[in-house]
C-alpha cells in the first residue's frame, strides 16, 4: 500500500511496518498517528468515525509540543538532540517522536502508577 513516505524511507519499509506493528501490539497502546511536521495526518490506526475528532486534535497540537521541546533541548545544549516526549496524564500516556520531517504520536492507556 502506498502511504506517501519519501524515497529515502522506502528501502526500510518492511522494517517500518514491523516496528509499527510492534508498537500497536504493545500492552495498553490504543493507537498511533504519523503526521508531517505541521500535523497533516499521513497514517493512523484511529480509523473509526468517532475517533476523528481525537485524531484532528492530536495531530494539530502534539507536533507543536514536540517542536517546542525539541528546540528547548537544542537551546540548552546545541549538541544535544531530543529523542521523544512523554506526556503522562491521569488516564493516558502520549508519546511523541520527531524525526526526518515525520512525527509519530502513540496513545497509550495508563499502565501503572509511578
Amino acid at each position: 500500500p502506498c502511504f506517501g513516505f519519501e524515497g529515502k524511507m522506502a528501502a526500510n519499509s518492511l522494517q517500518i511496518e514491523e516496528t509499527l506493528k510492534r508498537i500497536q501490539q504493545q500492552k495498553g497502546v490504543e493507537g498511533y498517528i504519523i503526521s508531517d511536521e505541521v500535523g497533516n495526518v499521513l497514517r493512523t490506526t484511529f480509523s473509526d468515525e468517532s475517533e476523528k475528532d481525537l485524531v484532528t486534535k492530536l495531530s494539530s497540537e502534539l507536533p507543536a509540543l514536540a517542536e517546542r521541546a525539541s528546540s528547548a533541548v537544542r537551546d540548552l545544549d546545541p549538541t544535544n538532540m531530543m529523542r521523544f516526549v512523554r506526556v503522562q496524564t491521569r488516564k493516558k500516556e502520549l508519546m511523541i517522536s520527531k524525526d526526518q520531517g515525520f512525527v509519530l504520536m502513540v496513545v497509550q492507556g495508563t499502565v501503572s502508577p509511578e
Binding site: E61, A72, V73, D75, L76, F84, V85, R90, K91, K92
Partner: protein, 133 residues
C-alpha cells in the same frame, strides 16, 4: 507529595498576598521540621545515581529551589515553564476531566522529568546509565 506537607496548615511558611498564597520555605522561614523534610527530599533525589540536578519553580516560573548554577537553572526554568503550560492545555483540551501528571523529555544526553503540582513544578535532570540510539 512534597508540597502537600506545606499545604497551608502552617501559616509561618506562607504569605497571603491578594488571592495568592506563596510558600516561603525557600527563605528558610518558619517551621524547622517542615523545611527539613523538604531538604531531605531534595537531598534524597539528588543522591540518586544519575541525577545531574533538580530544581523547583513556582507558578511564575521563578526557581525557588535548585541544586546547580543559578544562571543555568533560570534558563531551564523558563523553557520548562512554557512546556508545562503548553502540555497542560493540550491535555485539558483533549479531556477536560484529565490532567497532566508528568512530562518527560528524553534527549540524547539526558532526560528531563518534569512533575507539575498545584502551585509548583519540579524538574529533575536525569542521566540514564544506558544509552540508547
Amino acid at each position: 507529595s512534597v508540597f502537600d506537607i506545606c499545604g497551608g496548615s502552617c501559616r509561618l511558611l506562607s504569605r497571603q498576598k491578594g488571592g495568592q498564597r506563596t510558600l516561603l520555605w525557600a527563605e528558610g522561614a518558619g517551621c524547622g521540621a517542615m523545611s527539613t523534610e523538604i531538604e531531605e527530599t531534595v537531598k534524597k533525589l539528588s543522591s540518586f545515581k544519575g541525577v545531574k540536578g533538580l530544581f523547583v519553580i513556582n507558578q511564575d516560573g521563578i526557581p525557588i529551589r535548585y541544586t546547580f548554577e543559578p544562571e543555568l537553572v533560570t534558563h531551564y526554568a523558563a523553557l520548562v515553564h512554557q512546556l508545562v503550560h503548553q502540555s497542560r492545555s493540550i491535555v485539558r483540551d483533549l479531556d477536560a476531566t484529565d490532567d497532566l501528571v508528568t512530562l518527560r523529555v528524553r534527549s540524547k544526553n539526558h532526560e528531563l522529568i518534569i512533575a507539575p503540582e498545584k502551585e509548583y513544578i519540579m524538574c529533575v535532570i536525569h542521566m540514564p546509565d544506558v544509552t540508547y540510539d
